[in-house]
Chain length 148, copies 2
Amino acid sequence: MEYSIGEVAKLLNISISTLRFYDKEGLFLNLERDASGIRKFHEKDLETLRLITCLKSSGMKIKDIKEFMHWVSLGDQTISKRKEMFLKQKEMVEKKMLELEKTLNMITFKCWYYETAEKDQTEEKVKKIPVDKLPKEIQMAYEKAHTS
Amino acid sequence: MEYSIGEVAKLLNISISTLRFYDKEGLFLNLERDASGIRKFHEKDLETLRLITCLKSSGMKIKDIKEFMHWVSLGDQTISKRKEMFLKQKEMVEKKMLELEKTLNMITFKCWYYETAEKDQTEEKVKKIPVDKLPKEIQMAYEKAHTS
DNA sequence: TCTTGACCTAAAGTTATGTTTAGGTGATAC
DNA sequence: GTATCACCTAAACATAACTTTAGGTCAAGA
């Protein structure tokens, strides 16, 4: 199965210009072109794109993804490097998730805070509630959000 | 308690230039200055900074944080707006967490993949294992990573 | 035949989030 | 008294990751 750039764009919801940009950056290995220079994407390229999306969301830079793709092109001799990269990236993601949880706790607290303020028609009352008098789960969220 | 910009920078691990940048962008409400123009940070400014950090990690732009701070300055009449903002942001964070989980599954799979390849000294063998023959938890990670 | 649509390139432009630079003030330490 | 800090500003610079623009090819349909 072969896909044009437009088809891939729709399929994976990535703009055409982004796809060309990734190609220019060297993120695809041996991306096929037909006689008149038109890109032909195969399943392996789609899989590369799914990986790019994943690595980007893990906080990796395009340059490093490019380096990884270069390692892939060198074959078995770079297996350890690639493994190390993924181990490092796993740590990054776990760190990110912890931070996001803290963020969620802060936001959960704020949601409760403003819902209460909205009922009261003022911030004054809720602002004065001491931490230990907050509803239990809100207190927990607040405290989790405020640990260094 | 009062803090200089340098103290705040160390305390919250944010560079001095970033703090000045945030101030220029209007993220602090009534940040005090002494007679010679030197910034004096108070506890409320530190709390603002913690909130900024949190909102940034939730994916909010500086401009929107600034708008929020403006609402704060308008007092009780903007409580609903602020509540809506946090509700929206909560959804954003929940979406982000789902994406990160998917990312983590992909990376977990890749870690296993390259650890196996490393033992084999080649990718060839592991590459050929069909999904349903993978170790159970790896199979689960793979599948979770590949659901649209 | 002509026009439309999907593709192409190279290069310039955009946006967000800072950082760096160059030049200046004012208190304190040697 | 002069050198060194820690602070200040305005403005230029940096970087990543795209997007837009301007100009061109090529095949298919009216």
